[in-house]
Symmetry: C2
Subunit: 161 residues, 2 copies
């Protein structure tokens, strides 16, 4: 079998970009007012899911590339605490900007990565564990985060009229 | 770069199986009564999303392998028509069985496929188009369907108390 590894990896990263773009469009179509609403009664608000997605994507910078995060301050409100337990000081507009910026910075680093780099370990796994579990590579993270995004995308759709 | 194509393809199929398993668990945890409810006010009912997912996965049999579907009769109620426009004659229990069976039959065929088979065209693309668009392969279908499943999984979660 011919070495199609770069081709297959591109299919995986393209699936990531597709979900990010769909979500970009959805966020762009939702007003501040709509994003302040719960996606379903008693569930997370749109603004919480927006902040949560920014934080989770931003966390991919240290996880995949060992580099500093852009928005570490989001974790307290959008990862560690459930929605509606803390007063948010960040606006929807600021979060939308952060969403675009975190994904753009990730894309910059994705573009610099050689195909073989996707099969290297991420920073949350030790060298010893990686020998035993070679699937704990960067590709696994992007596959998992693409599905995480799709899952919340499905929920955010309920904010549309 | 070493030929890691089979390894990478396994990561993609493992991501599919993981989402299917999560959804299995979710369906198993939801009662008939819960699945009769709308996932969010005015949105699809659980039973509709269950039937929809069975139909979409069942459609992968001809799409990927050119073989006959198990449940072609589901399309009228769960793909072509929106929810709550037709009287359903199939029960939640029957749909849960069909869900398991469709995924099991898909898994059988996935297991028989060589890694190179994932990079072959699916049946909805012509030979000529496939030359120009080689990403329209079986792998693309499973990547796309995994995200489709994740998206509805996120919505079905709202049926849990």
């Amino acid at each position: 079998m011919e070495n199609q590894t770069p081709f297959v990896i591109k299919q995986v990263t393209d699936a990531w970009y597709l979900q990010v773009q769909r979500t970009d469009k959805l966020f762009a179509s939702l007003s501040d007012e709509q994003l302040q609403k719960e996606v379903s009664p008693g569930r997370n608000r749109g603004i919480y899911l927006l902040g949560h997605l920014v934080a989770v994507h931003d966390r991919m910078l240290p996880l995949l590339f060992g580099i500093e995060r852009l928005y570490p301050e989001l974790d307290a409100d959008f990862v560690e605490a459930p929605d509606k337990t803390r007063d948010l000081t960040i606006s929807v507009t600021e979060l939308k900007t952060a969403w675009s910026r975190a994904n753009a910075v990730l894309a910059e680093h994705f573009n610099k990565l050689q195909p073989s780099g996707w099969l290297e370990k991420h920073t949350a796994v030790s060298e010893a564990d990686f020998v035993r579990e070679p699937h704990r590579n960067r590709l696994n993270v992007i596959l998992s985060r693409t599905n995480h995004l799709s899952s919340h995308y499905g929920q955010l759709l309920f904010l549309k009229n």
